[in-house]
């Protein structure tokens, strides 16, 4: 059996989460994390938690207590479907689902990206779509009276160049290229 050890506590972890999230979301929304009372309404509402070990209440406890490594290395962090049921029901109005996305952003920054997700990004870098068209669908489009290629980046190569300028400007390709853990 694997020996259980208590990880090093990182007091800055919760601040890092709130600071990173506040670059996109209102700071007061991210600060709601500190209001979590561990009541468990979130986990009790979670459809993913019914069938996986994903426990959103627990991840917030770990975050508030500085268990950075445990929180960010958890594979279950990626079992949230972002359905927002927990956020809707939280009696303390914690922006829980948004905070999950921020925690995942931190995990990715630390090189923890699922290989399947790296693939999704690579498809996007190539096509500008996470789900690109294929020959079967082109034939269906034609039969339905639509253009064979949709009028998206698929039809306009210059538009695809714009997408990649933004991706590189944000350093996203470099982030994904680290391939995760």
């Amino acid at each position: 059996m694997k020996k259980q050890t208590i990880q090093k506590l990182d007091k800055d972890f919760v601040n890092d989460v709130i600071d990173l999230g506040s670059k996109i979301f209102p700071k007061e929304d991210m600060n709601t994390l500190r209001a979590c009372l561990q009541c468990g309404t979130c986990t009790g509402s979670c459809p993913s938690g019914r069938r996986t070990a994903w426990r959103i209440r627990q991840i917030f406890l770990k975050t508030l207590n500085g268990l950075r490594e445990e929180a960010l290395s958890s594979e279950d962090l990626w079992n949230c479907t972002t359905c927002y049921t927990c956020q809707e029901r939280c009696p303390r109005k914690v922006k829980s689902t948004d905070i999950v996305r921020v925690l995942r952003n931190l995990a990715v920054k630390e090189g923890r990206m699922r290989p399947e997700h790296v693939k999704v990004c690579e498809i996007f870098f190539k096509h500008g779509h996470a789900v690109p068209v294929n020959d079967d669908v082109k034939a269906i489009r034609k039969r339905l009276g639509l253009s064979e290629l949709p009028p998206t980046v698929h039809m306009y190569p210059d538009a695809m160049k714009e997408v990649l300028v933004i991706v590189d400007e944000k350093g996203f390709r470099a982030l994904v290229d680290r391939k995760g853990s």
């Binding site: 990715v108 996007f124 949709p150 009028p151 933004i166």
Partner: protein
């Protein structure tokens, strides 16, 4: 006549073009033009790219928003994911001038600027607010009598309710009302408001978890006697249609519940041809449903 910029996203044009054509045809019936958004990309997906890097997610979303701003029309979407990303990005940018400035510094690299001049709408909103269900009902030529519909709202059309502002996310009625206006019955089933299981990158990284959730929803619908599942979201549509094939392969069960997009169902009731609405382009056959409609 009114015009909307039709944000296609990925699943609608690249997997279920029937959703695209049905939406265009139904909107045209009510004098609404869905215009091409030339060069639009993936929205990008809110729980996927938003989970990887929110700053990149927002910048790419804003580029898509600007395409519609330059067309000077509001956006219409046929996927809850696209709706979530574009509506949320628009909301964040409209409410935070500093964020807008940062995003515009990025957009300047491609000669674009976000101004905050348009709104992002879901195709359901066009039907409910602009067209109105009583006018839909008046145009019904082939009432879907005796058809039992299990509506699946999906998550991101309604939630987070504070940003979406469509009322209750716990007991929504808009999609049920729309289905009723087409002459069909909207049935209750267990866990009606539950997620399809596909979002947040779960379908791509943990297919078995995603399918387990889809199966729970499908079982509830089938137990309640549904003739079909109706969704307003292209990604939920894919999850349930492809998902049934995957479940049948993995579990040996025989799921065969027809999956229909809301504008496909509306088109059928308005008297349009099922083939031209893409009813025969799903993975799971829709024949059992079509047989029920005279």
């Amino acid at each position: 006549m009114s015009d909307y910029a039709f944000f296609l996203g990925c699943i609608t044009p690249n997997r279920y073009p029937g959703i695209e054509i049905a939406s265009k045809k139904v909107m045209a019936e009510f004098g609404i033009n869905l215009l091409d958004m030339k060069g639009a990309s993936c929205c990008p997906a809110p729980g996927v790219f938003g989970s990887f890097d929110l700053a990149t997610w927002l910048a790419l979303a804003s580029r898509n928003l600007v395409i519609a701003e330059e067309m000077n029309v509001d956006i219409a979407t046929t996927c809850n994911g696209c709706y979530a990303t574009l509506q949320e990005a628009n909301h964040l940018l409209k409410h935070d001038p500093k964020l807008r400035q940062r995003v515009n510094e990025t957009l300047a690299k491609i000669g674009k600027q976000y101004k905050g001049t348009i709104a992002v709408k879901h195709i359901i909103e066009l039907l409910s607010d602009e067209i109105k269900f009583e006018n839909v009902e008046k145009k019904v030529k082939r009432p879907l009598k005796d058809v039992k519909v299990a509506v699946h709202y999906g998550c991101h059309f309604l939630k987070p309710s504070e940003t979406r502002m469509h009322g209750s996310a716990e007991r929504p009625t808009v999609l049920d009302d729309l289905v009723r206006s087409l002459g069909a019955e909207s049935i209750d089933y267990r866990d009606k408001a539950m997620c399809c299981g596909a979002g947040g990158g779960v379908r791509s990284a943990s297919l078995e978890v995603a399918l387990d959730m889809a199966a729970e929803k499908l079982d509830g619908m089938i137990e309640a006697g549904a003739d079909c599942l109706v969704t307003p979201c292209a990604f939920c549509h894919l999850q349930f249609d492809r998902g049934q094939v995957e479940l049948n392969e993995k579990t040996g069960k025989k799921y065969q519940l027809p999956v229909v997009f809301i504008t496909q169902l509306a088109g059928l009731a308005l008297g349009m041809n099922a083939k031209e609405l893409g009813f025969f382009d799903n993975s799971i056959s829709t024949e059992s449903l079509l047989k029920k409609i005279p």
